[in-house]
């Protein structure tokens, strides 16, 4: 009995049975290709998620250790001979540290060894000592145990970022220094402690002295300007285009413009800022004010588009009811439509702000890329922002800055997560289905 006769529905003609045979013969191949296609799709999804995981893993692996900084506990004798009461700010605090190290390691002789010993402690530790003395001049003449930051290379060595099996000449930390560190660790004088400087200081050339607070403040001022301008303007533009504008050439022109601006590369906005705000209007360089203006122009299209879709989702019956009891068009919009659309508009605004927070290319153009140690206090102080700080640190060759760059990225991502979570919460909380 041939196979085709097993299927009564397949018909009896020879042509039909041949077709069926062809189809059946091709089925295994087609099913294989179906499985292949499906696997390919799954592979694509897994690959994209894999990239995400890889990126986060690499950031976490590199960055988490930056939140802790190696510190060394030294018995510092606040020698009155060095600290003259009238010139505390100018005293030679380095000498105190060197003397204290010398007492801990009395057998160290020779210029080179001494210099290596002194390099255990960060060159920025003198400022911490100075601040301590200025705050409490009573310590002069006493000996106190003080935790001081270790140098950046020592910090890296303690965290295990430098391989010890390399020849000594190729390492930044010598065998002697490793031996000293082991002794310090054995005596309980070496510890990794929470890195407060990272969260409270401005930029610095010394990795152990560099922090993100300056950049975070700069980002705050910049975003404040952006929010104050882009939210009212964006809402107003959305309301006009959605509720008042009559269809026509001018409305079309505005719409096409907004859609195009949303896709213009961000660096072009930087060129605009440079040419108009700096060279034509002579606003100050590197200022959050100018950064905020540029980011406003950049985020406006996002906010307008989100605002319009929020207004669209308010049902026309609301408008008709208000107009029906004699409200004017403006009253209808301001009293009824806008309050109902506001949560959606806020969601769009937060998402726009999150994008502005991560933006750096246009800010490079207007000089927010300078090396700025001081923490900005206002809208016209020279400042930088968090993403640009990341860019600057990423360019630094020191190993310790790799760690701090990753940590700064983690902080930036944390801000973004909070903002996006806020937007999602807002949408879930106030979203209304009509």
């Amino acid at each position: 009995m041939s196979k085709t006769q097993g299927h009564p529905r397949a018909g009896k003609t020879p042509e039909n049975s041949r077709t069926i045979a062809v189809v059946r013969a091709s089925l295994p191949r087609r099913y294989r290709s179906e499985r292949r296609f499906r696997l390919l799709g799954l592979a694509a999804v897994v690959l994209s998620l894999g990239f995400l995981a890889l990126m986060f893993a690499s950031l976490l692996a590199n960055g988490v250790s930056a939140f802790r900084q190696t510190e060394i506990r030294l018995p510092v004798h606040f020698d009155p001979e060095v600290l003259h009461a009238e010139a505390l700010a100018q005293a030679d605090y380095g000498q105190l540290i060197r003397a204290s190290l010398g007492r801990l390691f009395p057998d160290v002789e020779g210029r080179r060894e001494r210099r290596e010993l002194a390099a255990l402690v960060s060159s920025a530790a003198v400022y911490d000592l100075r601040d301590l003395v200025m705050r409490d001049p009573g310590v002069i003449g006493q000996t106190r145990e003080v935790w001081l930051k270790a140098g950046a290379d020592i910090d890296m060595a303690v965290k295990g970022h430098f391989r010890r099996d390399l020849p000594e000449a190729e390492r930044r930390v010598s065998d002697r220094q490793f031996a000293w560190l082991e002794r310090l660790a054995a005596e309980g004088r070496l510890e990794k402690r929470f890195n407060r400087t990272f969260f409270t200081a401005g930029d610095s050339r010394e990795p152990e002295q560099a922090g993100i607070w300056g950049a975070v403040s700069g980002s705050f001022f910049t975003l404040a300007v952006t929010l104050m301008l882009s939210f009212p303007i964006g809402v107003a533009a959305a309301v006009y285009l959605e509720e008042f504008a009559r269809k026509g050439r001018i409305t079309d022109l505005i719409e096409v413009n907004i859609n195009n601006l949303a896709a213009v590369p961000s660096i072009v906005f930087g060129l605009l800022g440079l040419a108009v705000f700096l060279n034509f209007l002579h606003l100050p360089r590197s200022a959050p004010l100018v950064g905020g203006l540029v980011l406003t122009l950049m985020t406006l299209p996002t906010i307008i588009i989100a605002g319009r879709s929020a207004l669209k989702s308010v049902p026309p019956s609301i408008r008709e009811a208000a107009l029906g009891v004699g409200a004017s068009r403006m009253q209808t919009v301001l009293h009824h439509v806008l309050p109902l659309a506001l949560p959606g508009m806020l969601t769009g605004t937060i998402i726009g702000m999150a994008r502005a927070l991560g933006e750096s290319a246009p800010l490079l153009m207007i000089g927010m890329v300078a090396f700025i140690v001081e923490i900005p206090k206002g809208f016209t102080d020279p400042a930088t922002v968090l993403p640009v700080q990341i860019y600057l640190w990423a360019d630094s060759p020191e190993r310790a800055f790799v760690e701090r760059t990753s940590a700064a990225i983690l902080v930036l991502l944390a801000f973004l997560v909070v903002m996006n979570a806020g937007a999602i919460w807002l949408r879930k909380r106030f979203e209304r289905r009509w």
Partner: protein, 462 residues
Amino acid sequence: MPPFVLLAVLLAFSAAAYHLGRRRAFALAGAGGRAQRLHSRPNYHGALVALWCALPAILLFALWLAFESQVITRIVVEGLPEPQRSLPGDRLSLIVNDIRNVAGGRFEETAADPAVREAAATYRRLLGLSRQALAVVTLSLAAAMALLVRRRLRPTLRARNHVEGILTAMLVACSTIAVFTTVGIVLSVVYEAVLFFRIIPVGEFLFGLSWSPQMAIRADQVGASGAFGAVPVFLGTALISAIAMVVAVPIGLMSAIYLSEYAGKSFRAVAKPLIEILAGIPTVVYGFFAALTVAPFVRDAGGLLGLDVASESALAAGVVMGIMIIPFVCSLSDDFINAVPQSLRDGAYSLGATRSETVRRVVVPAALPGIMGGILLAVSRAIGETMIVVMAAGLAANLTVNPLKAVTTVTVQIVTLLIGDQEFDSPKTLAAFALGLVLFVVTLCLNVIALYIVRRYREQYE
């Protein structure tokens, strides 16, 4: 009075004006709260007074601040001693910068030369004077306008209509900002680019094969003439964008197909937001990832295979840029695939097609115009992407299509030409604007075509 304080005072004035107008309206209505005698409710009278109080003053405030620095600079330059005043434009602008820096306290005063110091003192004095004048003028304007409008309040005044008219005008003004932004971009970029093309002919810029814009500042230095043939830069941009698209399009499209045609509800609910996280990560993070992780990996992998890979290879930058674009391609394609009517799929299934055959022969061809539009948008984004290439691609303009070599891109060149000490009106600075013009025009064309295709496609199935 610092400008921000002045602005706050103005707003306080305006709030006071609101109450003034409202009280006046109640007084006009007569005793016993007979507000129905008024054409508009008292609140609108108040709002009218407040708007007239604040708006003209704020407008004046903005214009004053915008042009203050230019006017003062001109006065200070007029006051400079003769030898400096007659200097050529670029030297003069350097001196003006010095004066501004000294006046703003950003320079050691003692370091500057006496004429500059004196001019800086004048500058600071004039600035102080201008700020005082600004405070006096704006506040008196605000007060005068408030009182004037208050006196004109009548029971028959159509205050609501006036207020609504003003509000509508403000809404229109806000919505035209997008147009002015575009005009601003075009004017500023074109203006500087035209200055550039006066020095370097357009043909040489667009078709020249050698790019080395590091022009010496003094004419007598060695190698004083830069080369401004942008073809290597364009080619580098095209190469990196092409690599990015080779990564992003297959992965993004296949992910979209899998998520919309195969994946179960729960898998989709988890995977889709996760992929979209990739879109929310700032580009500087991708740049760091490319420079720190991917570039060394590509170089080492190439080394194992016996290939000579540059440490800033186009491949590393392109791959990471592709990863950045995956979610963009994925979510756009997903939209278009979902927009294909179910009836088309059902038709294909009823003819005995398998799922993959339905997708390949029916769904994707039906969604193709939209997908192409999405891909064009993605290309435009790749061309304009800056931070990844600034951090991971090279600076040297090599005329090559070898993805293992270092190439440079338009955006990288714009950034490097404009960061740091720039001399005004030198071809080096202006070249950045010429590149910016090319970038703007190319991305604009891509966007217009893409948006046109996408819009046409959306209408097709609606």
